[in-house]
């Protein structure tokens, strides 16, 4: 007799658990307002990433096309895998002294791991992380970027 009761109890509890599970998924199909996915390429105009999002490294230029990089190579030392290469040259400034000035800021995007170690290392706050995350290109040489546009440095940058 116990066996028969257990048989029917098993069936009852089994069916009840199945129906509860179906109720959960049934709830979601009847509430289509709760859909959480976004239609990505169509909503690019309204898409805004967070401020601290690590997309890629850029050199900050203001409206006069000037940047703050002194060529001190602190970011190159802090970078773990050689993504940043600073090529600098010596020029004469107004006082006639030879100072080191940045020639090219080479950034290998294909090797960058976005670890954010270079940004706090910079003493003049010349670089920051932009929120641009679409890096796919068809030609690999486009991933080696020169970050400084033809411009100059503003004053009071400290080595």
């Amino acid at each position: 007799m116990n066996g028969i009761i257990k048989y029917f109890k098993d069936i009852y509890y089994g069916l009840k658990s199945l129906v509860t599970g179906m109720a959960v998924t049934g709830h979601y199909i009847t509430h289509p307002k709760e859909i959480i996915t976004q239609q990505y390429p169509e909503n690019k105009d309204t898409l805004k990433m967070f401020d601290r999002f690590r997309g890629e490294v850029v050199l900050i230029h203001d409206e006069n096309n000037e940047h703050r990089c002194t060529g001190c190579s602190a970011c190159e030392v802090a970078c773990p895998n050689g993504t940043i290469e600073i090529i600098s040259k010596r020029v004469e400034n107004e006082e006639g002294k030879k100072v080191k000035v940045i020639d090219k800021f080479v950034y290998h995007l294909q090797m960058c791991t976005m670890c954010n170690l270079c940004i706090p290392a910079c003493p003049t706050d010349a670089i920051k992380m932009s929120q641009d995350f679409e890096h796919a290109v068809f030609d690999r040489s486009k991933l080696t970027k020169i970050l400084n546009k033809p411009g100059s440095k503003i004053m009071a940058g400290v080595k």
Binding site: G14, L18, R52, P80, C115, L117
Partner: protein, 375 residues
């Protein structure tokens, strides 16, 4: 005429055959190759072949400075990356004997528990998907989305965070951090009972996980299976209780232990751990002390000569960092004790005599992440 000698010939049993659950397989959670020797559908032996994603991280750490090692540890167990970062940072800070501000400890603990929650959510989703209920995958990721949004706003990245540095945090938390975390706790406390209704109480799921893959307590201790997999067999191994670090001495939580040692016990351990994590965050989120977010260290960190070991409790088990330093700016040798490696070694013992479908269930409950095993 030659004598006929009696010889022993080693033969396969006539019915056995080998099947390769190859490196590309939907349910091995990464690149793991399992060579199964089967008899019909019963498994006689499981042999894991590792190394498909070995990237020589430990060797790379010998050439990097201590701050640069952090971004490499992100990529090992990428689902609990914050805890791995914390392990290396604590090891270095103990070596340098610096005192960390209370604020840093509390924030590190909160973010650790959030990471543990997101790892368990992904585990739950994948477990349902391996057993055939594909909808659970999407539900796990939906809930995880809120946590990755919290991380994206504060740390800048969603998966590989590199937020810890030796000495504290890279930058202070975002002003929205507390509010977002509190909203998340309220939201998730309503969703977690749904996990039970959809999978834990389901009769089909219970039939597939009860009594499968039993690991006794003595076997768990001798194989070194830690984390929820070990606690499901009754092995009390929670590092947060036995060797507390960061803000864990200040919080009250239970260590979840179960006696049966089968798949269902390990599953329930993880679900209950999710409730405990919510509890811990609740206790800490309103009481973040004010203060600095880091201690100023030298730019070039040099540990004194010696050996340092630090262990933390990740979502998979006990993770350890062993640093041998000879006074230079990179460690002489760095060794990681990964929980997945020990957990995987018990797979053979647990799955003898089970069917292929059970093997999938056992591997899901072990919660393996193969980059953690291969480093």
């Amino acid at each position: 005429m030659k004598e006929i000698e009696e010889q022993e010939i080693q033969e396969l049993e006539s019915q056995e055959y080998f099947i390769n659950m190859g490196p590309q397989h939907p349910s091995t959670h990464g690149v793991l190759r399992l060579v199964l020797s089967l008899d019909g559908e019963i498994i006689r032996k499981v042999e894991p072949h590792l190394g498909y994603i070995h990237r020589s991280i430990e060797k790379m750490c010998e050439h990097d400075s201590y701050q640069q090692i952090i971004h490499l540890t992100d990529r090992m167990d990428y689902l609990s990356c914050h805890m791995l970062n914390e392990a290396v940072c604590l090891g270095v800070e103990n070596g340098l004997e610096v005192e960390i501000p209370e604020r840093v400890k509390v924030i590190r603990t909160i973010i650790s528990e959030l990471t543990r929650l997101s790892s368990h959510q992904l585990w739950w989703g994948v477990m349902g998907m391996d057993l055939g209920a594909i909808t659970t995958f999407l539900y796990g990721f939906r809930d995880r989305e809120m946590i990755t949004d919290i991380f994206e706003e504060t740390c800048g990245a969603r998966l590989t965070m590199s937020y810890n540095i030796p000495g504290g945090l890279m930058f202070d938390i975002h002003p929205n951090f507390q509010k977002r975390t509190k909203d998340f706790i309220v939201h998730f406390k309503k969703k977690l009972p749904e996990y039970d209704k959809l999978l834990s109480d389901n009769v089909i799921f219970r039939e597939r996980t009860r009594g499968i893959g039993v690991l006794s307590k003595e076997d768990a201790i001798s194989y070194g299976v830690t984390g929820p997999s070990g606690r499901g067999s009754g092995f009390s191994c929670d590092v947060r209780k036995h060797n507390p670090y960061s803000a864990y001495p200040k919080v009250e939580f239970r260590e979840i232990l179960r006696e049966e040692g089968d798949c269902f016990a390990r599953y329930k351990c993880r679900i209950d751990e999710m409730w405990e994590s919510l509890n811990i965050i609740d206790q800490l989120i309103d009481n973040i002390p004010e203060g600095d977010y880091k201690v100023q260290t030298r730019t070039v960190i040099k540990l004194p000569k010696g050996e340092f070991y630090q262990k933390v409790e990740t979502a998979r088990g006990e993770f350890g960092v062993y640093i041998i330093s000879d006074g230079m700016k990179s460690p002489y040798r760095l060794k990681f004790r990964s929980p997945g490696f020990s957990n995987l070694s018990a797979l053979d013992k647990m799955s003898r005599g089970c069917k292929i479908a059970d093997l999938v269930a056992i591997m899901s409950t072990l919660d393996l992440v193969i980059p953690d095993i291969d480093r």
